[in-house]
């Protein structure tokens, strides 16, 4: 019995174990070798990831508050995998940082929060997970204590987030009021399209829109990405966004699937505005992190197309896209972090002539950016096309028109960065950087992922088998 529960909650339990161990280390052996700790952390992430491959439990706990099944396992292992990549990417940076242990404590807490959020079967659990995934993240965003921007970004994030949770909670209270329950299943059954419950639904949507940084709820994103340490920006753009999307789809499809007609237009509009505004801002950015932030906003807009489709294929392509997006974005951010660590430069203009001095880094960056742009043969092409196709199968033609035009604009700014690296001349280029082994591993994994995932159909088939529609 207890083993069954442990098996059901294996991610959470293992992560919790890691947190406790880290705390114990913190308390008892302050002087422990930094490499050993980093090794331990990465190892435990690996263990968590590995745990997902043993068996496929299906069940619920705490009276339906906590659910687990294959889909959720997949989603969790995806974000764990991304976290592992980010952890490896951050290793070099953390070695020179005094509070690396706290970093991991917070990171694991966030991860646990996300696990619970994804697995939730009840709005209470969902809310707890959400806050647990947000509040430590704000602390992480402020982790570069000495940099003025880090604090500013974190401040904006925590305040926006507080406002957003207030709205979300207000929505939840209305839902509770109209349906009499917080349980997903009951809410779904009792949901009537009264204006109060619809108001509740829309406030809930707003909360999600904030987490996935859809326009106009996105303003904190760019500032926070730019301000926070690269690893946290990566985490925000990949894991945080991914987890939010996972639970978003789950709730939207499972709980509000019946009132598809009600939210589809709002979602369509949200998607259109998000990609357009994201693009318009991305094209004028000078800071590479800020640029990637707006690019990630645009990507969220594309993902929303598939969300709006409400089909099984749509969900599969979202998960698939997020997987590809992890590889692409982590790849791009890893290059940024390598350069930022060594030189502290993070303006696009600093990348001028990068190809001359660091050909491998520039090629990796180019491939990652092209994958974000959705240009073949990178996996991004497949991801993006699947998103659009799932929209097409529902006939969201207007949205598709906007999306394809936006793809042209986005190609423009990705290529602009490529141009800067490959074509522009620089009197004073970034010197040749021999990157840390762990960063190299991340880059290699990302490149292999970017270049191969699109062609391997079994990955998509696997995801598809675990997906569901309305």
């Amino acid at each position: 019995m207890i083993l069954d529960y442990l098996s059901l909650m294996r991610f959470e339990v293992l992560a919790l174990g890691a947190v406790i161990l880290l705390l114990l280390i913190k308390v008892f052996s302050e002087k422990m070798n930094i490499s050993a700790i980093l090794g331990f952390v990465n190892f435990s992430l690996l263990v968590i990831l590995g745990a997902s491959f043993i068996g496929r439990p299906h069940g619920s706990m705490f009276g339906g508050m906590f659910l687990n099944d294959g889909t959720l396992m997949l989603e969790k292992s995806i974000i764990t995998f991304a976290t592992l990549l980010i952890s490896l990417q951050a290793n070099n940076w953390l070695k020179n940082h005094s509070s690396y242990l706290e970093f991991y404590l917070l990171l694991f807490s966030v991860l646990i929060g996300m696990y619970f959020m994804i697995s939730s079967g009840n709005f209470l659990m969902f809310y707890l997970g959400l806050e647990m995934a947000t509040i430590p993240l704000a602390a992480l965003a402020a982790f570069d204590f000495n940099r003025i921007r880090s604090a500013e970004g974190a401040g904006k994030m925590i305040l926006s987030s507080a406002f957003s949770s207030a709205i979300l909670l207000f929505g939840l209270s209305l839902l509770y009021g109209t349906t009499g329950s917080l349980d997903f299943g009951t809410v779904s059954r009792n949901f009537t399209s009264g204006s109060l419950s619809l108001l509740g639904l829309s406030f809930l949507l707003v909360g999600f829109a904030f987490k996935i940084s859809a326009v106009p709820f996105h303003f904190w994103t760019a500032d926070t990405y730019e301000g926070s340490p690269v690893a946290i920006a990566t985490f925000l753009s990949v894991v945080s966004k991914g987890a939010a999307f996972f639970i978003f789809i789950t709730i939207l499809y499972k709980v509000f699937g019946a009132v598809y007609e009600k939210w589809i237009h709002a979602l369509t509009l949200l998607s259109a505005i998000t990609m357009t505004i994201g693009n318009l801002f991305a094209m004028r950015q000078l800071n590479i992190k800020r640029f990637l932030a707006f690019s990630s906003i645009t990507q969220a807009g594309y993902i929303l197309i598939a969300v709006a489709s409400g089909t099984k294929e749509g969900m599969a392509s979202i998960i698939y896209f997020l997987l590809i997006y992890i590889f692409s974005n982590v790849g791009a951010f890893t290059v940024v972090s390598i350069i930022c660590d060594k030189t502290g430069k993070d303006d696009i203009d600093d990348y001028k002539g990068l190809y001359k001095t660091n050909p491998k880094l520039s090629i990796a960056m180019m491939i990652a950016l092209l994958s974000l742009a959705g240009v073949p043969p990178t996996a991004g092409f497949f991801g993006k096309l699947f998103l659009l196709t799932s929209g097409a199968s529902k006939g969201l033609i207007v949205l598709l028109v906007i999306a394809s035009l936006n793809m042209v604009i986005s190609l423009y700014y990705y290529l602009k960065v490529v141009k800067v690296m490959f074509v522009d001349k620089n009197e004073n280029p970034i010197e040749n950087i021999s990157s840390h082994i762990s960063a190299k591993i991340v880059l290699i994994i990302c490149l292999i992922g970017i270049l191969s995932i699109g062609f391997i159909n079994c990955i998509f088939e696997y995801i598809h088998a675990l997906s569901f529609g309305i």
Binding site: P376, F381, A392, L405, Y412, F422
Partner: protein, 487 residues
């Protein structure tokens, strides 16, 4: 004949370019492109030995993404075979022409072969998704080839070119997705060309899908008024990239217009054909007149490509079988001819360091081989019998004239008028740059073509002459396919 070889060989070439060092890349690229040419020739002969050509040849279909009903479905008909031949010839020539690239040799050849790979894949695939994949594969190579190895305002041109082409392909994408939607509504969603052609769409559906698909592809084939990427792109691109752009890439557009847009939506195509014809005629004459004004010979050829590709569009829109055959012939002919033209212009530029026709002069005396090749290309361009251009243009004209009404007739006559303007600008270019007294002292000691340049030009000239003197097999082969495509 296993068609996948046509993708496998360039892919292997790409990989081998990655793993050899430095200058060996060009050897790998050359070897790969020759093997590809051989394979393409083998395919051509196997196709000609087939008895039944009423359906796709060497068809192969593997499920790729079952959930979307995306299949790796490939197969060829005469049109695609012609295009593949064209691509492999231009590929060999392009590699040869770039033999002496000093700067980033490996990357250059990698991108060059990648560009061709996209074209090969595009021509053999029958599934719209797969086709679109290969269609877009060329984006990066195009951009980087121009932006890194180009000259002049290269970044601007590269960006403009890629964005305009991307704009075109986004229109195509919408069209494809629209088809997907309608096929999903009708039962099974599909990307397959064959399946989609069976789909019966309503008038309105056809009417909005067609302009997207057609104009999307037409951007690539430089139809007026979407042609402005061509002059900028070509004037900045390195020689081989220009050859590929005009010789292969533009053909992707024409092929798409014919084999996708018109094939899938014949009804709407007929409805829209008057507008397309008007645009094509404007493009033909306007391109020719703009060419008249140019003194940069590369720019001149870029604009003349606009004019020549107008014939492709015209032939397609004229909707007679002969005109369509003519359009295909024109694609091949223009592909080889313009590749030759750009190649020789590049070679001359390497020596004289100017592309301004009026700064040259008397080059025939110092480099007879290159000048002769230039003249051959020019004569092909102005449609001299014995070269490929004549065959293609005449087929378009005769085919166009089979339409009985005055509108089509007048359009045809308008289009034919361009042959005079073409003659004027070609002769003008020959007159100012190759003939006349030698303008600069240093030109007198310029060397003539080297072995690789001779080989490249030789292969292209040979193709032009073969097509120009023995066109029957080719036009027969193509017309059989058009008959099955547009019964």
């Amino acid at each position: 004949m296993n068609l996948s070889l046509l993708i496998a060989i360039p892919t292997l070439t790409l990989i081998s370019i990655l793993f050899v060092n430095g200058k060996m890349a060009r050897v790998a690229a050359l070897a790969g492109s020759f093997v590809q040419l051989g394979t393409a020739l083998f395919m051509l002969f196997s196709y000609m030995n087939l008895n039944d050509v009423s359906h796709l040849a060497f068809e192969e279909s593997h499920v790729w993404f079952a959930q979307w009903n995306i299949n790796y479905h490939i197969g060829v008909d005469a049109i695609s075979i012609a295009m593949i031949m064209l691509t492999s010839v231009v590929l060999v020539a392009g590699v040869l022409v770039s033999w002496n690239i000093e700067d980033k040799t490996k990357e250059f050849f990698f991108l060059l072969v990648m560009l061709a790979t996209g074209a090969f894949g595009f021509f053999i695939s029958v599934d719209l998704f797969v086709q679109f994949f290969f269609f877009e594969l060329a984006v990066i190579p195009k951009f980087l080839l121009i932006a890194i190895w180009g000259s002049g305002r290269k970044e601007y041109s590269a960006m403009k070119l890629v964005l305009m082409l991307m704009g075109g392909s986004s229109l195509v994408l919408i069209g494809i997705l629209g088809f997907y939607y309608y096929s999903a509504e009708a039962g099974t969603p599909s990307f397959d060309l064959q399946t989609l052609s069976q789909l019966s769409l309503s008038h309105e559906q056809q009417m909005w899908l067609f302009p997207l698909l057609f104009s999307g592809f037409a951007v690539l084939s430089a139809m007026f008024p979407f042609h402005t990427w061509a002059p900028d792109g070509h004037s900045s691109a390195p020689t081989a990239a220009s050859m590929f752009l005009a010789g292969i890439s533009m053909k992707l557009g024409g092929y798409g217009c014919l084999r996708v847009a018109v094939f899938l939506l014949p009804h709407a195509a007929r409805e829209y054909s008057p507008y397309i014809i008007v645009l094509a005629c404007i493009g033909i004459l306007y391109g020719a007149f703009v060419t008249l004004k140019q003194t940069d010979i590369k720019l001149m050829n870029a604009y003349s490509s606009v004019s020549h590709c107008g014939f492709v569009i015209l032939g397609i829109a004229m909707f007679t079988k002969t005109a369509m055959v003519g359009a295909v012939l024109q694609m091949i002919s223009h592909g080889v001819m313009t590749a030759l033209f750009f190649a020789v212009i590049g070679m001359i530029y390497q020596r004289t360091h100017t592309r301004m026709g009026d700064e040259m002069g008397g080059l025939l005396k110092v480099m007879p081989f290159l000048s002769t090749v230039f003249i051959v290309a020019g004569l092909t361009s102005l449609g001299l019998p014995g070269f490929s251009g004549f065959v293609a243009e005449m087929t378009v004209f005769v085919g166009s004239f089979q339409n009985e009404d005055m509108f089509h007739r007048f359009a045809t006559i308008f289009a034919t008028a361009s042959i005079v303007v073409t003659a004027v600008y070609i002769l003008r270019a020959v007159g100012i740059s190759l003939w006349g007294p030698i303008k600069k002292k240093e030109y007198e000691s310029l060397p003539d073509a080297s072995w690789n340049e001779k080989l490249a030009a030789g292969i292209l000239v040979l193709s032009i002459v073969i097509m120009g003197t023995m066109p029957l097999w080719l036009s027969d082969m193509i017309s059989k396919t058009t008959e099955t495509l547009f019964p």
